[in-house]
Symmetry: none
Subunit: 140 residues, 2 copies
């Protein structure tokens, strides 16, 4: 939402640099910390949590809860960052992890429906449809 916010710190910059090398890839907070630990530099777990959460708010990163107990997955959106999220919905395959960006009028209808009939203002940037994609489904 808030395209800009907060300070530009060394940690944030290094985190951004790293993220840009793994667009569209699932990473956990621990992955990030491990990466920095291995490359000598260090970023506190708390900071990673806070920066990633901030990037989710800024629309740079998506957050996924693949299952209740395991750690949350984050994904740098890369080239999809500036996609018009008023028209684009995200579907996440729970099996292969693929993220599908779909533009669809029918889906846009639900935004209106939610607003008119339920008084709910949908935030499509944050909303993710979980399920099984066509490919994975046909493999069964």
């Amino acid at each position: 939402m808030a395209e800009k916010s907060g300070y530009k710190t060394k940690q944030r910059e290094e985190l951004m640099e790293y993220l840009e090398t793994v667009p569209g890839v699932h990473i956990t907070v621990n992955d990030v910390c491990d990466f920095f630990r291995q490359s000598g530099r260090n970023i506190g777990t708390t900071t990673v949590y806070r920066q990633l959460e901030r990037m989710v708010d800024e629309g740079l990163v998506s957050k996924y809860i693949i299952d209740g107990n395991s750690p949350a997955c984050f994904e740098y959106l890369g080239e999809h960052i500036h996609e018009d999220h008023q028209v684009c919905f995200h579907c996440k395959c729970e099996k292969c992890g693929k993220l599908i960006h779909m533009h669809c009028d029918e889906l846009n209808g639900i935004r209106e429906h939610l607003s008119e009939h339920h008084g709910f203002k949908l935030n499509s940037m944050r909303t993710v449809f979980y399920g099984i994609c066509e490919e994975c489904d046909s493999k069964e």
Copy 2:
């Protein structure tokens, strides 16, 4: 989906009786334990977890993972037990954190739409609409 399984214990029976009084309602494991604590009887947390999980397998109860941290929500399906498409949808307010669950035909339509036009099998157990609820929206 195993329609039958295991023993019929006192705890399971009392749990079932309770569930039948709250069909279509969201409850957490803690809600259940509190209820029994308040009514004098007691059921161990572990048992509630295990029985509810079993009922999910049996198709009597739906489980929803709203977000990584908050506790899982369970819902006794009541008369909808044998219609596996009649599951409810969830909206979570990003401001006040309120969780709204809705049974809505129009929303159920999107499940079909996603399936037919996009080959995507929606998992309503984990899909949550994020946005701003009516109350919070009017406060601005």
